[in-house]
């Protein structure tokens, strides 16, 4: 891998920070954050969760609440948190596989949510 002529970490961090701030400002100027529906307006029939909680909405839609909203997320958190110890049990290479399964599951649920709420309707 070719090495950058910038050797000091603080300089690289500064450049990354500058790009990040420009990116966030550009997003802020171009895409206004939504405000939703006023509570004075007539009731909305179907509320869509923010994209971050899309996987939750899908789980709640198809599974009983105790399973989809409590047991399943807790298992997921426990699995991710316990990764260093699971790797000790199942070997070094299993870490990436376990994480891919967890991460992949969330991504599938997120894509499912996106397709269902934003593309399908």
């Amino acid at each position: 891998m070719a090495r950058s002529p910038i050797k000091h970490l603080i300089e690289k961090e500064g450049i990354a920070a500058l790009f990040f701030l420009v990116f966030c400002t550009a997003l802020a100027l171009k895409f206004p954050a939504g405000v939703g529906t006023s509570n004075q307006a007539p009731s909305v029939s179907h509320a869509v969760a923010p994209w971050i909680f899309g996987p939750f909405q899908i789980l709640l839609l198809y599974l009983p609440p105790w399973l989809g909203a409590l047991v399943f997320p807790l298992l997921l958190i426990a699995g991710v948190a316990g990764l260093p110890w699971l790797v000790d049990l199942w070997g070094v290479k299993s870490g990436q596989r376990i994480f891919v399964v967890f991460f992949g599951l969330i991504m599938i649920l997120l894509i499912w949510f996106m397709v269902k709420e934003f593309w399908w309707t």
Binding site: L9, C24, A28, P32, S38, P84, V92
Partner: protein, 254 residues
């Protein structure tokens, strides 16, 4: 005469020697340069700077390989930067935001459309929050991919997972503070989910969300958690996270 004849011969012999010496010197220089690049790089930091707050966050010693941008992609640092941006913009928003069922949504509209630069500041707050969720997740992915969670870094991994959960909760409470009908629906779902926990569910919901209605999730309780309680815990955990990185031997390439 003999001496005069001998001199040019000596010069002829010295010229190739000098060229050889120069070539050897250059080779040595290149080898030394390559070795230096592979060796850990010591950031030159004065004694005064070593003790200050910024250098508590930033590592004093950085292995050469870890300086490559493509190794860490600066994702942890960018997540912290997003947190700082969120702190500054959130502080500015606090001057005009009023939590409550009837006041939350209207004060948000005032910020977005009446207060000078209020809309931009709110948009920046929103987008920094969204980008932070992405960078935190990517940072986690990078940590897994480079096996940076293994011994002795298990505790720091747990701190990182806690921070991810905190970021998600902060995002959720921020969504509730919009005070829209959607936020009311989200608050109702969250309260009902917590109510499923036997014994302490209802009390926990009361502590975390107060009493939101189905038409607005904005309550004083959520506001205090979002602006003070959760960010303070997150800040402390982040500083501990950075300190643990140093304690566990720093960022190391594969």
């Amino acid at each position: 005469m003999k001496e005069q004849v001998a001199e040019p011969k000596q010069e002829l012999k010295q010229e190739p020697k000098q060229e050889l010496k120069q070539e050897l010197k250059q080779e040595l220089k290149q080898k030394l340069k390559q070795k230096l690049l592979q060796e850990p790089v010591l950031e030159p930091i004065s004694e005064g700077r070593q003790k200050n707050f910024i250098n508590h966050i930033r590592p004093r010693f950085v292995p050469g390989g870890a300086l490559t941008v493509l190794y860490t992609f600066c994702l942890g640092g960018l997540s912290f930067l997003a947190f700082v941006v969120l702190g500054i913009t959130g502080f500015l928003l606090m001057f005009h935001y009023q939590p409550g069922e009837s006041t939350g949504f209207s004060s948000l509209l005032t910020i977005a459309s009446v207060i000078p630069y209020g809309g931009v500041i709110r948009n920046l707050h929103y987008w920094a929050g969204q980008v932070m969720v992405v960078t935190v997740n990517l940072h986690m992915l990078r940590v897994v991919w480079t096996h940076s969670y293994k011994s002795p870094k298990q505790l720091n991994w747990l701190v990182g997972v806690s921070l991810l959960i905190l970021v998600l909760v902060l995002d959720f409470t921020g969504y509730l503070l919009i005070g829209s009908q959607e936020s009311g629906a989200a608050a109702t779902v969250a309260v009902n989910i917590l109510g499923l926990i036997p014994g302490m569910g209802t009390s926990l919901a009361q502590i975390l969300f107060g009493e939101p209605t189905s038409l607005s999730g904005s309550t004083l309780v959520v506001y205090v958690w979002h602006c003070l309680g959760l960010p303070l815990v997150a800040l402390f955990l982040q500083l501990y996270h950075f300190w643990r990185i140093r304690r566990d031997g720093g960022v190391r390439p594969l």
